[in-house]
Amino acid sequence: MNKQRIVTITSVTKEAPGITTLRFHDEIKVKPGQFYMVWLPRVDEVPMSVSYTSVEKGITVKEVGEATRALGKLKIRDQIGIRGPYGNGYRIPKGTVLVAGGGTGMASLLPAVEAIGDPGRVDVLIGAKTAGEVLLLDRARKASREVHVSTDDGSMGRKGTVVDMVQEHLEMKHYDMVLGCGPERMLSALLKACDEKSVKCQLSLERYMKCGAGLCGSCVIDGIRVCREGPVFSSAELRKMKEFGSSKRDECGCSVKL
């Protein structure tokens, strides 16, 4: 039961061009990897990972369309509706952990890194299109042993993708678990990379969400609810999914190529 509540924005942080973190007070506990359905009256209601899970909650929004642009324009004292948290969240792993985030994927991953609570056993890899879009770098540094950055254009860190970095790290070191969040094509390559090295992973997926509550079926991948059994799935689960990395459903429920 996740009743709608109206929260007031207490801080607005511009993380990068078109990427904004909004903070607000909400008492209801959240696990890293869970998400809210965020309501902007007259605009839309969209799923957003919780990027800050303390009592002062936060979401980190990348502007891609109408709703996210409207969220990016909010100011302190504006109000939004939230319901949730929904979804399973990451199981916080024991042992050494490699964390790989593409784009706003870091928003979902950082609370998990912080929940591990032991910088000594976590390495973080951040991928972005360009230097300006590298997200939450300072926060990642505080909570981990090493942080490495890659950009598509080489404007910061190494040139290439985050998956390239993952492959290198898995060659170099032993990790007990990989956590990943980002575009599905990246996640699909990530799963392959992990499988090759027989390292387990947990990856967080995105699908079109309407109810968010496990009812309407709009978010399903291979008949499994991303909003409920996911958004975080294990390698074992992902390997069985025919639609993973290949197709998703549009608002009508039609299958479309990724």
Binding site: K3, A213, L215, C216, G217, V220, G253
Partner: protein
Amino acid sequence: MTSLKVEVAALKLSNPTILASGVMDETAASLLNMARAGAGAVVTKSIGSEPRKGYPNPTLVELDWGYINAMGLPNPGIEAFAEEMRLARGCPAPVIGSIFASSAKEFSFLASKMQDYGAAAVELNLSCPHAKGYGMELGVDPEMVSAVVREVKSVCSIPVFAKLTPNTHQLMEVAKAAEAAGCDAIVAVNTVKAMAISVEMRRPILSNKGGGLSGPAIKPIGLRCVYDLHSTLNIPIIGVGGVEDWRDAVEYIMAGASAVQVGSAVGRVGLNVFELICTGMKEFMVREGFESVSQMVGVAHE
């Protein structure tokens, strides 16, 4: 030997719990998962002639005692749905094709498609409370319902179910009209017209403003409809509305339902709701000396 098997209008089900239309049933894989989770039959999302996005979000409000939804009948359209029905062929439980339309002709077109696709039965959505020109706008008029059922029956050999709305004082008249037109079973009820308002935002929460109430809040309403329908009709009744545990299911059956559908509880309880209901029902039947579900149907009338 206590058995949960039931037969509803020629459909043989391993147990009397059926997945309700609109919940986890837009894709073949979802339907298969729900059947594997233990549903005795599964009803598809209501499918129309054309692909439809449904309403913009918010489409759902959660309450302590249920949901209000206004999805707006999103669906891939009857043509695209062929592929889902094909993939669902191996489904361990009968697949009932739900359809919505704005005229008798369109209903019969969709119904014959569903029959071609291999649906075990077709369920006519005459009861959606929030889609202009569809659903209950037709389903409160006995003559309209009669015309739709007659037309669909004329093109279908599979059983035809009419799903009705509780949002009318004429439910008995509508159901009798459906029965007289050859309907094989009545499904009651769809959601109840409802709304939620955010006082801080000073507006209805759902993008469509109005929506339909489901879940425990409407169980007493659905139960009353089924009880009254059982006194009125000779065809079987499938009870829907707030079925969340075995006790709810048995209440509906004793009121006169031959089977029940489960919608909101898939969200509120989980995918194991079918299994939980069946286990509890079986234990109850053993305790109370019922050997078959049919022995319980309508006993609250005696």
